[in-house]
């Protein structure tokens, strides 16, 4: 095949990139080699637009065993236990084919975790859909949710948390981010770096088919009206085979046969073999005749670029093949030696006894293009909204409208489609600020949450980046966990547009500042650019997945009210700022103005003090104040509880709407036994932490004197209406 400009373009490569390929090779590539380059050099695999900015993120800390660069991040949680976790996007495939796209997103992230030796113990997700009126939204929601459930339920890993949001910015490009968390003994962690010459390279798992060819390249371009035709680039998931693969790999990992192991994810056999060789500074030779194929007459090009799921590549120690093979046979999986490590520093591809492709490994990996793309800074928008200028609406009407909106609704329609209890270690299921998973047969647990705030990031990316880390940190504190580290999934539009690139750069800067201040390093992550259709990019949507540690499981806490007569205290100050609030967006359709300010030192002081109160058993429940503001968050505390709240009218803030719906940051609501009130207030006051009583717990009703009174059962029903009418 002659490589014309059109062929190059079809491979998602720019003409200057093709020139660089010719320089690196010293010749023209053949079509197979071009395919391999396109698989490695696309945005999704090469991080060419994001690399120079990501390296500024804090990635080290006393708990960090492995930061970004491996299949997933690893943190130390004491007693020889480590937690391995990562979040990844599967946005483009899920828009084209929601069930399979979402399912394989879950499958892919699970492999990243068990490749490193961990048994997965929890799955979470962050899913964003278009406006609820958009005709595609409901079918996409249905498909994605059943795809996530279909995979996790079958493989038997509990799906314990997540977030679901609707905004018209995602009408033509939904977001599906999946996070997996696993547990491993510290001395049993496996890495992808190959070592030693002439070591067997073994292919295990499913057979290779023609699905997902060019999947990674597809995910590195925007959609247009022909995106439906991209269906063949979406992979098909088989959770049962993944279960077999997981058990077989974990069984093999009990012994000492593995030198390195890497799952075949995006760009399949190409990226897994290149990554292993590149990290080990070795060459790798693959004999493509030996690759188990699902379909007849597959070409080397198809074999190298297929993204068929549930496959792994392993470099084995000498003499271990027989024992290893026995394990994979037990689980009815293919186990084939397809190549070896070499000293050539090349990727050598053989087919029918001929060398049909040979590319220096560094040309594919370390010498891949890196761009410092143009970006522009976004100024902090001015505050324009004066509440007194807006049309007056009754507090009760606003409150109930917000509570019944799709974004604030109870998500049990979704979470009821997930098995949250399998593995029998789920201490706190989804619905509270963070989910809690016990470490098997231990008295300690981890807390996990995923969060995003696209509206804030759109309004001011730098502040939004900081805010989302803080909110995530606050959610872990709110269940009694010490936050340890994060993984991030950075969903953005087209990086070739300087405004979008600016959103990326400044969100990353915000994340960096907050992570540094809170001692909350980034240990893994994923960047997804080109989220948009026909040059219309989505709002910048960084998603943060956080993991925290609860050393004594008995200190866990949730947001649900516990006892009649208890006092609700608000920790942190309510300034009454409304711009970028759900209130203005949902009620007045106002989306301009700055996001709430972030004061990192207040954030840290308030959070650490709340955690101390929890550990000293001085609080009965905790909930952070986030989207919807004080009143929505108070209402959320009544769900799953027999109690309501009698809310005091504010004494200081003049406007009731500002008091109820401001989304000012760094705030917590804590429920305290009345006999502890004096003590708690004294501790907070002595530490200069702003606090005020906002109400008290009562039976059955949620009310604000002179404004409204509603039974908590009705409140719950209103909160569940949207999904129940789906």
């Amino acid at each position: 095949m002659i490589i014309t400009n059109t062929v190059v373009e079809k491979h998602g490569l720019k003409s200057e990139e093709y020139s660089k390929i010719k320089v690196l090779l010293g010749r023209e590539p053949n079509i197979l080699e071009l395919g391999v380059f396109s698989a490695m050099w696309n945005e999704h695999c090469s991080y060419k637009s994001s690399k120079i900015h990501l390296k500024n993120l804090p990635t080290k800390g006393k708990h960090v065993i492995q930061g970004p660069g491996e299949n997933a991040g690893v943190i130390d949680i004491g007693d020889d236990d480590a937690i391995i976790f990562k979040i990844e996007s599967h946005n483009h495939p899920s828009y084209i084919e929601p069930y399979q796209g979402a399912a394989t997103g879950v499958g892919g992230i699970l492999r990243d975790v068990f490749t490193m030796g961990a048994r997965p113990i929890a799955l979470l997700n962050s899913i964003h859909f278009g406006s609820i009126e958009h005709p595609k939204t409901k079918p996409l929601l249905n498909g994605v949710v059943s795809g996530i459930g279909g995979y996790g339920n079958c493989i038997g890993i509990p799906t314990v948390g997540g977030e679901t949001k609707f905004n018209k910015t995602y009408n033509e490009n939904i977001l599906v981010n999946a996070m997996a968390v696993g547990h491993v003994k510290k001395n049993k962690i496996f890495y992808s770096k190959a070592k030693g010459l002439n070591k067997s390279v073994v292919y295990v798992g499913s057979k290779t088919g023609r699905d997902g060819i060019h999947g990674a390249s597809m995910a590195s371009a925007e959609f247009d009206e022909n995106s439906e035709n991209k269906k063949p680039t979406v992979q098909v998931g088989d959770p049962f085979t993944e279960k077999l693969l997981m058990e077989a790999c974990l069984e093999l990992m009990q012994g000492n046969s593995i030198i390195s192991i890497q799952d075949m994810g995006a760009a399949g056999l190409t990226s897994s073999s290149v990554e292993m060789a590149s990290k080990g500074e070795l060459g790798i030779e693959l004999n493509l005749d030996n690759v188990p194929c699902r379909e007849e007459n597959m070409t080397p090009y198809e074999i190298m670029l297929s993204e068929s799921q549930e496959r792994m590549l392993i470099v084995l120690e000498d003499g271990k093949e027989k024992d290893a093979k026995k394990i994979f046979e037990k689980w009815d999986l293919d186990f084939v030696v397809i190549g070896k490590t070499t000293n050539t520093n090349n990727l050598t591809l053989k087919f029918k006894d001929k060398i049909i492709g040979e590319i220096p490994i560094d040309a594919l990996a370390t010498k891949a293009p890196v761009y410092n793309r143009k970006w522009i800074k976004k100024k902090l928008p001015e505050k324009k909204i004066q509440i007194k200028d807006l049309k007056k609406i009754k507090l009760e009407d606003v409150f109930l409208k917000l509570l019944s909106s799709a974004n604030q609704s109870n998500k049990s329609w979704i979470t009821n489609q997930f098995d949250q209890m399998v593995m029998a270690d789920t201490v706190q299921r989804s619905g509270s600020d963070a989910s809690i998973i016990r470490i098997h047969k231990k008295e300690k647990a981890i807390a996990i949450t995923v969060d995003s705030s696209a509206n804030y990031c759109k309004a001011h990316p730098h502040t939004g980046g900081k805010q989302i880390v803080c909110e995530n940190w606050r959610n872990l504190i709110s269940v009694g966990a010490m936050p340890i580290a994060i993984t991030n999934c950075l969903n953005f539009g087209n990086p070739e547009d300087s405004e979008i690139m600016g959103q990326f750069v400044e969100c990353v800067l915000g994340i960096k500042e907050a992570c540094e201040f809170l001692d909350y390093p980034v240990v893994s992550g994923n960047v997804s650019f080109y989220n948009g259709t026909n040059k219309k990019s989505i709002h910048p949507t960084p998603v943060i997945g956080g993991v925290g540690l609860i050393t004594n499981i008995n200190n866990k806490i949730n947001q649900y009210l516990k006892k009649d007569g208890n006092i609700i205290l608000q920790v942190g100050k309510n300034f009454g700022q409304l711009s970028q609030s759900i209130f203005l967006e949902e009620i007045y359709s106002i989306t301009d103005g700055p996001p709430p300010e972030i004061n990192l030192s207040n954030e840290k002081n308030n959070g650490l003090m709340v955690l101390k109160l929890i550990n000293n058993k001085l609080v009965s429940s905790v909930h952070d104040v986030s989207s919807g503001g004080l009143i929505i968050c108070l209402a959320e505390m009544t769900f799953n509880s027999d109690f309501g709240i009698k809310l005091d009218k504010p004494k200081k803030l003049s406007n009731l709407m500002e008091y109820c719906f401001s989304e000012d940051q760094g705030r917590y609501l804590i429920e305290i036994e009345s006999h502890n009130l004096k003590k708690v207030k004294k501790i907070l006051d002595e530490n200069n932490i702003f606090n005020e009583t906002v109400g008290s717990v009562q039976k059955d009703y949620f009310e604000m004197t002179g404004e409204f009174k509603i039974s908590i059962n009705d409140l719950y029903k209103i909160n569940s209406t949207w999904y129940n009418n789906l």
Binding site: G149, G156, Q417, F418, M421, A424, V427
Partner: protein, 225 residues
């Protein structure tokens, strides 16, 4: 008491059930689906999960597997058999229990806490519960909608072969509290000799206060009684 848990490649509640058995000091053995012999035991458990992937009807392949032939033999000899969730589906596919488990009435996977009422305590599995006791249990299934012909249904009711029925937290058994559309709110059934029990809720998930509650404990204690 000696127990045996059958492990299919897609079983995923095998570890959970083993832990519950261990907690109650059963002498338990895990048996891999390719093993041809069953150890001698008083109780065989088929755990939840997706046996062989269940891309065909749930439990259809497992119901015809070699190891199930052994289970059928043991059951016919009077051994106690407990099938939970996928295990229940497999027991119906193997013909050890009559009826079928259809897709849930809302055609969606259901993973949630529900309530069941104890209808029959005069058997090996429920003797530690009291009649009409209400338990909070967890379900997680796509096909839990029990269906059978009217004669068999009548037989189940008349011979008191339905130990668990879905209800609300106050014990009301009605359509509103039927999560999956099962006939007569059936959550579990016996064979005629009451040595085989199939149920959709997961008692093994209800044996630890910090995770959920202890409402499943008495099922295992009954077996030891």
């Amino acid at each position: 008491m000696n127990s045996t848990v059958i492990v299919f490649p897609g079983s995923n509640c095998d570890r959970d059930i083993a832990l519950a058995l261990e907690k109650l000091h059963f002498r338990n053995t895990m048996v891999w689906h390719k093993d041809s012999n069953l150890p001698k035991s008083d109780l065989i458990i088929i755990p939840g999960g997706f046996s062989y992937g269940d891309y065909l009807r749930s439990g259809a392949i497992a119901g015809k597997s070699n190891i199930l032939n052994e289970v059928v033999k043991a059951a016919n000899d009077g051994c106690l058999v407990l099938g939970i969730c996928n295990g229940f589906q497999i027991l119906t596919e193997a013909g050890l229990l009559k009826g079928v488990l259809l897709r849930n009435k809302n055609l969606k996977f259901l993973g949630k806490d529900i309530h069941v009422k104890i209808i029959n305590t005069e058997n090996k599995f429920c003797n530690k519960y009291s009649k009409d006791q209400i338990l909070k249990m967890n379900i997680a299934h796509n096909e839990g909608n029990y269906f059978t012909n009217s004669e068999h249904l009548k037989e189940l009711e008349d011979k008191n072969l339905i130990p668990f029925k879905y209800c609300d937290k106050n014990g009301n058994v009605n359509e509103e509290n039927n999560p999956n559309g099962s006939l007569n709110n059936i959550a579990g059934i016996f064979n005629e000799k009451k040595n085989i029990l199939g149920l959709m809720p997961h008692p093994e998930r209800m044996v630890d206060q910090i995770i959920s509650n202890n409402d499943g404990l008495n099922l295992f204690k009954s077996l030891l009684n």
